[in-house]
């Protein structure tokens, strides 16, 4: 669950040659941009995520697998590219960082019981401008979206970018958040940057067990789980991050 961030996210966009960790697993899932990792001693493949080519989404149809074969990275990228540009996505759609185009959440095959045929992919997207999630059924063979379903209630797990943004909002907040004072009490220094802690963020929906946070569900919210580098968890149960409004929601 824990992100090891050696570069704060804001500067990361510029730091194309930095090795940074993609944050969400204790297994320090490293996101290696250009650093050679040590092969030879490792069994099989590296557990790092790496940029595919130059990172651009493929716009040309890649080789397609059998109907029920797992998606290749190229197929996933091509499906995201088609889904994001579909006419059913609002023209002003934005991602969690406010940049143009919807936030990508996940992609996989439609369920076997849905009895689709051919190479089809479900791409889940989120538009922060309208706070709407989209399930886009993409036909890879035809290179087009065959069904678009939208909802203002579905809140799939956060993307890695959303987790980074949520952590930064919590650190930047002037609100009295228990985990920050707990960190300072125990570590002797204030918490000012994400790379001081490890974290993951789960999507969070109001379920009537808290007194506040009713807006979460229609707004997109994330619950942080933050630990020190030593793995001790900090108290983050008193708030969630509203990613739609970029604000802290005290839930108690």
């Amino acid at each position: 669950m824990n992100a090891t961030l050696s570069v704060p996210w804001r500067s990361r966009k510029l730091a194309a040659v930095a090795a940074v960790a993609l944050g969400l697993s204790c297994a320090t899932t490293a996101y290696v941009v250009s650093q050679d990792d040590v092969a030879g001693t490792e069994p099989g493949m590296s557990s790092d995520f790496e940029v595919v080519g130059n990172g651009d989404l493929p716009t040309k149809k890649p080789a397609l697998g059998a109907d029920r074969a797992p998606l290749s990275a190229e197929e996933t990228g091509y499906a995201i590219s088609i889904a994001s540009k579909d006419a059913s996505i609002p023209a002003g759609a934005t991602d969690v960082r406010g940049e143009s185009g919807p936030e990508f959440l996940y992609a996989d095959l439609p369920e076997v019981g849905a009895e689709t045929s051919g190479r089809k992919v479900v791409v889940a997207l989120y538009d922060y401008t309208t706070d709407t999630s989209f399930d886009m059924l993409v036909d890879l063979e035809a290179g087009k979206v065959v069904k678009s379903t939208k909802s203002v209630k579905a809140q799939p797990p956060t993307s890695a970018d959303e987790a980074d943004v949520a952590m930064q909002i919590a650190i930047d907040s002037t609100k009295d958040l228990l985990f920050k004072s707990e960190f300072e009490d125990n570590m002797g220094v204030p918490l000012i940057a994400p790379d001081q802690v490890e974290y993951v963020a789960g999507s969070w929906v109001f379920n009537k067990t808290t007194s506040k946070g009713q807006e979460c569900g229609e707004d997109r919210c994330a619950q942080l789980m933050v630990s020190t580098a030593a793995g001790t968890y900090l108290n983050t149960w008193d708030f969630v991050v509203n990613l739609s409004t970029k604000s802290i929601v005290k839930t108690q």
Partner: protein, 687 residues
């Protein structure tokens, strides 16, 4: 005699007592009972490329399915099909059991009431949460899993060994001793199961999803929790994982010092107890049914019998979607099965699978209260709560049941496997794995045990007693049949043209209540007539006459024995047949010594790479035998090697400054069983 089925070589260990049965000409042929199973030719392979798992277990049973890692659901198994060790005896080829099986929610509320997590719908078991199945983790074969998503606007990917497939022993499956005190035959076999598993890490908890498909057709679905209990500092705040409320936790140490607001105090802390509410989704597809039926069975006693309480079974056909709450809709003895009424085993019983779920449900949360729910399949209903599908978002299993007003014919089971964890000292880091499991058990999917041996094939329904010695399944001849003169049975046979011979049945022992007999007459070893009597003709002069008697009963293997010969005139001289094998015996095994088979090496690399950038080189080595060992890749004077996993390995190089075309040379060194191979490709370094 009906359609014969060839005898299979058995792995059953037969420990026969000293009292050996006499060596007889018993044929290994079974008279099979009514073959109700339609020979479905629909045994086409599953089209899922790299995610196909097809495995023959030690006893000959086979499973196949497609297995992949979904970004949210984690391990997802599709099109699960089974072929029993008895092969065509039950049905031909593979038969479908389940269309899809996966976890549909994992809700973890802490007893402190301060927090709960939905590990599936908030985090998921795929993406970066999936853990690598390195050789220290997976003792079997690890399947590569390719994962990709966008990060900071760029497409990223990784391929890791993510699904572990291995055959594990399951202990003794059968132990049947024929007699009370020694002697007779002991039937004992040891089973194995195909375990398909993956591990995902959500915060401090690490979960193993493990589904075991055993060699008798049973499926066990397990979720094991390991990793660590929630790590935290001791606190006087009851909203904490190590708090000071004895009732909602368990002490794991002595007192701790707690500092807050500048003052220090000593408290006893308690690790927070919690639930793991796991709900699995099982989309049944018994024999690819058009229509399936869900039945609930309950048991109750109408009163005492003469010497024991009478227990009666009550069947309820579940016509509509339902949720079942323990103590309200069912009790401890109740169970459910999913049946395909159109698919029958050779006894005429409809094939089904029973759900065995001996767990408890968390009744403090509405949607985790039912132990099981059934709905008709609906594509938008993917998760047991907080549904993520935009077609019916935010709903839970109770909504699905309430919204389903169709007859229940396409059942999906939502199986709730609860586990309440009160931590203990021994659960401290690293925490030993604790399991919550349910089973899917074949009920009349087969007419008999799907590993049935010939010596027990005659046992199907009521039987008196069967044992290998005095009442065998295959009739055994104890006194040979005899040819006599039809008109003077007591006299010695004096052959003459026109004389009628007859053959007796001989004496047989068998588990069958009665046997029927068939007779075949032979002249010099060539079959010439059937029937109990035979009248000699001119053609029989100067020949040897014998008869064979076959004893059989419906549902039993049959036995055949030959009479002593009657000689008519002077038979033609024949070479003495020899009882001995003509080949010299050899001390050496006749198997060929292990010969290495060829391999091919393929290299996947971008045609153009940018100077200064890292690029991956993926090498795939293929061979008819399993490919293991390392592959070495050379590029621009550098050499890297990587251990192959499923024949595949990836190394990375950085493109040099000099813009040119370079060779990438991949060399596989080979093993004792696979020959070496290599491949050279070109890569162009561009600006």
């Amino acid at each position: 005699m009906k359609k014969g089925v060839g005898m299979r070589k058995k792995s059953l260990a037969r420990l026969t007592a000293a009292l050996a049965a006499p060596a007889l000409l018993t044929g290994g042929v079974v008279a099979q009972v009514a073959t109700a199973s339609p020979a479905q030719a629909a045994d086409s392979p599953l089209a899922c490329d790299a995610s196909l798992i097809e495995k023959k277990l030690e006893n000959g049973a086979e499973w196949r399915m497609c297995a992949r890692i979904h970004p949210v659901k984690g391990l997802i198994l599709e099109q699960i099909e089974f072929k029993p060790a008895t092969g065509d005896y039950e049905y031909s080829g593979f038969k479908r059991i389940i269309d899809q099986l996966n976890i549909a929610q994992l809700n973890v509320p802490y007893d402190t009431g301060h927090v709960q997590y939905d590990d599936i719908t908030s985090y998921g078991f795929g993406k970066q949460y999936l853990q690598e199945q390195g050789p220290e983790v997976c003792k079997g074969e690890a399947l590569p899993v390719e994962q990709s998503f966008t990060y900071s606007g760029r497409l990223v990917e990784r391929t890791i060994p993510g699904i572990c497939v291995q055959e594990d022993p399951t202990g003794i499956m059968t132990h049947a001793q024929e007699t009370q005190i020694g002697g007779g035959t002991l039937y004992v076999d040891h089973g194995t199961g195909l375990a398909v598993s993956s591990i995902s890490k959500i915060s401090w908890y690490e979960y193993q999803q493990r589904v075991v498909f055993d060699d008798h057709g049973q499926i066990e679905v397990g979720l094991g929790a390991t990793g660590d209990i929630a790590p935290a500092w001791a606190s006087t705040n009851p909203n904490s994982f190590f708090h000071n409320n004895e009732k909602t936790g368990w002490p794991l140490s002595g007192p701790s010092q707690v500092t807050s607001g500048g003052s220090t105090q000593t408290i006893q802390s308690y690790a927070a107890s919690h639930w793991h509410n796991a709900i699995f989704k099982v989309d049944f597809g018994i024999d690819k049914a058009e229509r399936q039926v869900v039945e609930q069975y309950d048991f109750s006693s109408p009163g005492a019998g003469t010497r024991a309480p009478i227990i009666e079974r009550q069947k309820t056909v579940m016509d509509a979607a339902f949720s079942s709450v323990a103590g309200v809709d069912h009790d401890e003895l109740s169970w459910w099965r999913v049946m395909n009424p159109a698919s029958k085993n050779f006894d005429g019983h409809a094939r089904s699978y029973e759900i065995v779920n001996q767990n408890y449900a968390n009744k403090t949360i509405p949607y985790t209260t039912p132990l099981v729910s059934f709905t008709n399949y609906r594509a938008c209903e993917e998760y047991a709560s907080n549904n993520l599908n935009a077609g019916c978002p935010g709903q839970n299993v109770l909504d699905y049941v309430a919204n389903d007003n169709h007859q229940l014919t396409d059942p999906v089971a939502w199986i709730n496997v609860g586990f309440h964890h009160t931590d203990k000292d021994e659960d401290q880091s690293p925490m030993p794995i604790h399991w919550q499991k349910f089973q899917l058990v074949p009920r009349d999917f087969f007419a008999q045990k799907p590993t049935i041996k010939d010596a027990r094939k005659c046992i199907n329904g009521p039987f008196s007693s069967v044992n290998a010695v005095t009442k065998p399944c295959t009739p055994e001849n104890t006194a040979a049949p005899k040819i006599t003169d039809k008109n003077d049975p007591t006299a010695a046979v004096v052959p003459a043209v026109g004389k009628t011979l007859t053959v007796s049945n001989g004496t047989w022992r068998s588990a069958a209540q009665s046997l029927t007999y068939a007779y075949t007459w032979f002249r010099n070893g060539e079959a010439v007539a059937t029937g109990q009597d035979y009248t000699l003709t001119e053609a029989d002069n100067n020949s040897v006459i014998t008869a064979k008697v076959t004893a059989s009963a419906t549902g039993f293997p049959s036995g055949t024995v030959e009479t002593a010969a009657v000689t008519f005139g002077t038979p033609p001289a024949t070479e003495d047949p020899t009882d001995e094998p003509t080949d010299e015996p050899t001390d050496e095994p006749t198997d060929e010594p292990v010969v290495a088979v060829s391999s091919t090496t393929a290299v996947k690399v971008a045609a153009k790479v940018k100077t200064g950038k890292a690029f991956p080189v993926t090498v795939t080595v293929k061979s008819a035998k399993p490919v293991t060992g390392k592959v070495t890749v050379k590029f621009n004077g550098k050499s890297k090697s990587v251990t192959l996993v499923s024949g595949k390995g990836t190394v990375k190089f950085t493109a040099p400054k000099k813009l040119a075309t370079y060779n990438v040379v991949a060399s596989y060194a080979g093993t004792d069983t696979v020959k070496k191979s290599s491949k050279t490709v070109k890569v162009k370094v561009v600006r």
